[in-house]
């Protein structure tokens, strides 16, 4: 039995004023601080979605582990896929400080009650896809994640710092893979161009719906959970990617892509938001396969965790 705490003696308005002042001062919110339910639930939703993306994100590239063209590429890809698992774990750890439960979150993913990034519902058709995922998909993830290192919620920001340190390796290995293929045969160059054609638009969709169709953005920015709007980050990604594509010698599949000399930004064509919504709704090329495999991983491996539990219970 403990004495009444400060929190139990103060009304919600006073507590919320403390909370708002902490964020206004640029300080972090930590797990045991009082926080509005909307802040807690919004963070759980965002962090869980992020964690699920890391875990599901192992699958498209994992498909190439046994078909990597050399031992060197295989070792690199294995390390990268292992990192994605680690990133998922950092993020579930952060979600758990908000009173979420890891096993519950996994169940919600498998039951399609929580989402993951739409990008992982596209197939990896050739080995060039591994390179393009590293360059574009991980590049887009870096654009999204670097500002999240300053997220107002301490455990999330700290998890993102660890993630970002490792993402740099992911992007560079992808770009190097593509440079190697572009220095190869005409067939290899065509494979790279084909992969770029297929992944460019889905990569732009990774930043989420446009600002005028993103209902959570304003509140997320007020609370310091997000630091930039979806469209700002998308623009930053396009501006970074165009010169990288030029260096590589590939064409980005957008005839409207032009440099606007006044703003210094690249203007790009309209994104097919209908496709984005279809994929989010579960009708992408690989949604069913991704979820089925995650479900199998949970169910088929349950005996391992049960055996470990039984062993632990027998220890003195």
């Amino acid at each position: 039995m403990s004495a009444p705490t400060r929190d139990s003696l103060l009304d919600d308005a006073t507590l919320e004023a403390y909370f708002d002042a902490t964020i206004a001062a640029g300080h972090r919110i930590e797990p045991r601080d009082w926080m509005p339910e909307g802040y807690r639930n919004g963070l759980i939703r965002q962090i869980a979605q992020h964690a699920h993306s890391e875990i599901i994100g192992m699958q498209p590239e994992g498909d190439w582990l046994l078909a990597a063209p050399s031992l060197r590429r295989k070792a690199i890809l294995l390390a990268k896929v292992q990192d994605e698992a680690g990133h998922g774990m950092y993020l579930y750890s952060a979600a758990e400080t908000l009173a979420a439960d890891r096993a519950d979150l996994t169940d919600k993913l498998i039951e399609r009650r929580q989402k993951y990034s739409s990008i992982f519902n596209y197939p990896t058709l050739t080995y060039a896809d591994v390179g393009v995922i590293g360059w574009l998909v991980d590049g887009a993830a870096i654009c999204n994640q670097v500002p999240l290192c300053r997220s107002s919620y301490g455990p999330y920001a700290r998890a993102m710092i660890r993630v970002c340190k490792e993402e740099s390796f992911h992007q560079r290995q992808g770009y190097e893979l593509l440079m190697t293929m572009m220095g190869g045969t005409p067939e290899q160059r065509a494979m790279v161009q084909d992969a770029v054609d297929r992944w460019w638009w889905p990569s732009l969709m990774m930043f989420g719906p446009p600002d005028d169709d993103s209902p959570n953005t304003a509140q997320s920015m007020k609370w310091g959970v997000k630091r930039h709007t979806n469209d700002e980050l998308r623009q930053r990604f396009v501006d970074m990617s165009v010169p990288q594509a030029e260096f590589l010698g590939v064409t980005l599949p957008d005839p409207e892509l032009t440099l606007d000399p006044e703003s210094g930004h690249y203007r790009f064509g309209a994104i097919d938001w209908a496709e984005f919504k279809r994929v989010i709704a579960g009708e992408g090329p690989c949604n069913d396969e991704r979820i089925a495999r995650r479900r199998a991983a949970r169910d088929d491996n349950a005996w391992v965790t049960e055996a470990a539990t039984a062993y632990a219970e027998k220890q003195p």
Partner: protein, 121 residues
């Protein structure tokens, strides 16, 4: 003092339990305790909290901590401790707990005036 864990976890006050998925609780991972993980970055530094994980026992917790938190020479030593065994101060104790830092200025070296001409001080 309260019975709260270090980073919170499921026992965080003011956190209603989340709705269960309805899946029957098995004797598997769902029941594994929460461990907090601390890593010594290199010799000469303190162990620093890096995150948490679930494991069936202490030994497995160390192995899992190694895989999750030290894939790139981030550490030379790992501590794991069940979150339930950590006692922590509460946010509402902030003022009385840490007040001495503010009103005992003589605990800081800048409190003492020493002429600049004194060497090596």
């Amino acid at each position: 003092m309260s019975d709260m864990t270090a980073e919170g976890g499921k026992n965080t006050p003011s956190s209603p339990p989340l709705a269960s998925s309805g899946r029957a609780p098995g004797r598997g991972r769902r029941d594994w305790p929460l461990y907090e993980v601390f890593v010594r970055g290199k010799r000469g530094l303190n162990h620093v909290h890096v995150g948490s994980l679930h494991a069936p026992d202490d030994e497995m917790a160390v192995h899992a901590a190694r895989d999750v938190y030290t894939r790139r020479n981030e550490g030379v030593s790992i501590w794991v401790v069940k979150a339930e065994h950590i006692s922590a101060s509460s946010p509402d104790e902030k003022d009385p707990m840490f007040a001495p830092n503010g009103d005992k200025v003589y605990r800081h070296p800048t409190f003492y005036e020493i002429p600049d001409t004194v060497p090596h001080m």
